[in-house]
């Protein structure tokens, strides 16, 4: 018999019983539906113990890598500690080591966590202004390339946390952040696959991390970045990205302007439209979408209809916090 620890309680799981059956038979309610490893309603995460491969069948690679599994298909092969996915609650103390402008609205916040901090470029953290107030910000840095964590924070008029970061936070300050969360990141394997990345505003943050991560991993397929804003002033890292595209033949950078005439070197139009028009069919491509929620949700649907498989679409809509 294997032991399953869930929310501080330990349960015995008999031979041939699934984690879902075990917890339910002990009166622990876990949401489920198909009980056949398909609908993914009973998604859980293992913090200890090896997982049987069939319990991760059909999951996105980024979820599998973080030890998510389906409770209905998991007959434990180890003692396990498991949780329901409610990540982002842990608090890790960190020191602010720099705040630098990227353009007139966006700053780069550099952080050094006090303890070793594991993350994948493109994931995000919850950033605490105080014990009760936090907002999500994406990781623009790459663990194996950068010696600190970098966030790109856009100032939202009267925004509680972003305005505080822009106006009050200073190098030397100490803050709390959560562990890294989210499944919008680069997974190695399939180095020939085309990568399409579309972002608006500070939605470039996770994409910048993902691109540098993929290039450092030796990704060989085309990597196409489309970054959009109203005007040239809304874009940033333009020189860095142009330089990156000169250094890597397979990386292309298309900055897009939705208002007014586009100067030389920029595209005129809504970033999603420009990207879809230039790439055509997306069958076989992997797609990353970040930033404005309306853009991201429209892009999910349109890139899927253009041929990308649902399993290959990764998206982080920057939804405002519920007030």
């Amino acid at each position: 018999m294997k032991r399953i620890v869930y929310e501080g309680q330990s349960y015995g799981c008999s031979e041939n019983e699934t984690v879902l059956e075990c917890l339910n038979s002990h009166g622990v309610p876990i949401p489920s539906s198909c009980k056949a490893g398909v609908c993914q309603t009973c998604l859980m995460r293992a913090t200890k113990g090896n997982l049987p491969p069939e319990s991760q069948k059909g999951l996105k690679p980024t979820l599998a890598e973080q030890n998510y599994f389906l409770a209905c298909s998991c007959r434990p092969i180890d003692d396990m500690e498991i949780s329901t996915p409610e990540p982002g609650q842990g608090k890790i103390p960190a020191k602010v080591i720099g705040i630098e402008p990227l353009n007139s609205d966006i700053v780069c916040v550099k952080l050094n966590p006090d303890i070793p901090f594991q993350y994948r470029a493109g994931q995000y953290i919850n950033f605490f202004k105080d014990a009760a107030t936090s907002r999500s910000y994406s990781l623009a840095s790459v663990a194996r390339l950068d010696d600190c964590i970098k966030l790109h924070v856009r100032r939202i008029p009267r925004g509680t946390v972003s305005t505080w970061i822009h106006e009050s936070l200073a190098p030397g300050d100490r803050v709390d952040i959560s562990e890294a969360i989210g499944d919008c990141f680069y997974v190695p394997g399939n180095p020939e696959q085309g990568l399409l990345l579309i972002g608006t505003g500070s939605g470039l943050a996770p994409l910048y991390g993902i691109i540098r991560d993929a290039l450092a991993d030796g990704h060989k397929g085309p990597i196409r970045l489309y970054h959009g804003s109203l005007n040239v002033e809304g874009l940033y890292l333009i020189e860095e990205l142009r330089k990156l595209s000169l250094e890597h033949e397979n990386f292309s950078y298309s900055p897009c302007i939705s208002e007014g005439e586009a100067p030389e070197g920029f595209y005129q139009g809504i970033v999603l439209d420009v990207a879809l028009k230039q790439t055509g069919t997306l069958s076989g491509w992997r797609v990353y979408l970040c930033g404005n929620p309306d853009m991201v949700n429209a892009a999910k649907k349109k890139t899927f209809l253009a041929g990308a498989s649902m399993r290959d679409i990764y998206a982080d809509p920057f939804v405002p916090a519920a007030s």
Partner: protein, 122 residues
């Protein structure tokens, strides 16, 4: 193991391919897209996979009661026989696109058809 319809169609791998094709058809079908147009497409895709696995006679533990409960919120939004027919068409078109032989398509259609009363809450 004897070959079930699900095995003959190609099992889990075939359903994975079928889901993308089916879901694309459904989203592009003005008659029914509104029922599927959830914001969370990932969750929807997983559910559509459960849907097709069932229609292909694959492993599932859904009961008629589950189908009733699972579609009740759609019936409340006006789901009726014409929408059910449209879904049946899309299932057949998906299988045709995958070059599944006609007799197997007919079997899948029969399984899906058998859920009509429950799905429509009749």
């Amino acid at each position: 193991m004897s070959d079930t319809l699900y095995d003959k169609i190609g099992g889990d791998a075939a359903v994975n391919v079928a889901v993308d094709i089916f879901y694309r058809k459904v989203l592009a079908d003005d008659r029914i897209s509104r029922f599927f147009d959830g914001v969370d497409m990932d969750r929807q895709a997983a559910k559509q996979k459960a849907f097709l696995t069932m229609a292909f006679g694959g492993p599932n533990k859904y009961t008629g009661e589950d189908m009733r409960r699972g579609h009740a919120h759609l019936v409340a939004k006006g789901l009726n026989d014409s929408h059910f027919d449209a879904v049946m068409e899309n299932i057949a078109a998906t299988l045709t696109e995958l070059n599944v032989p006609g007799d197997l398509i007919a079997q899948a259609a029969a399984i899906a058809e058998s859920t009509r009363k429950d799905v429509l809450g009749k």
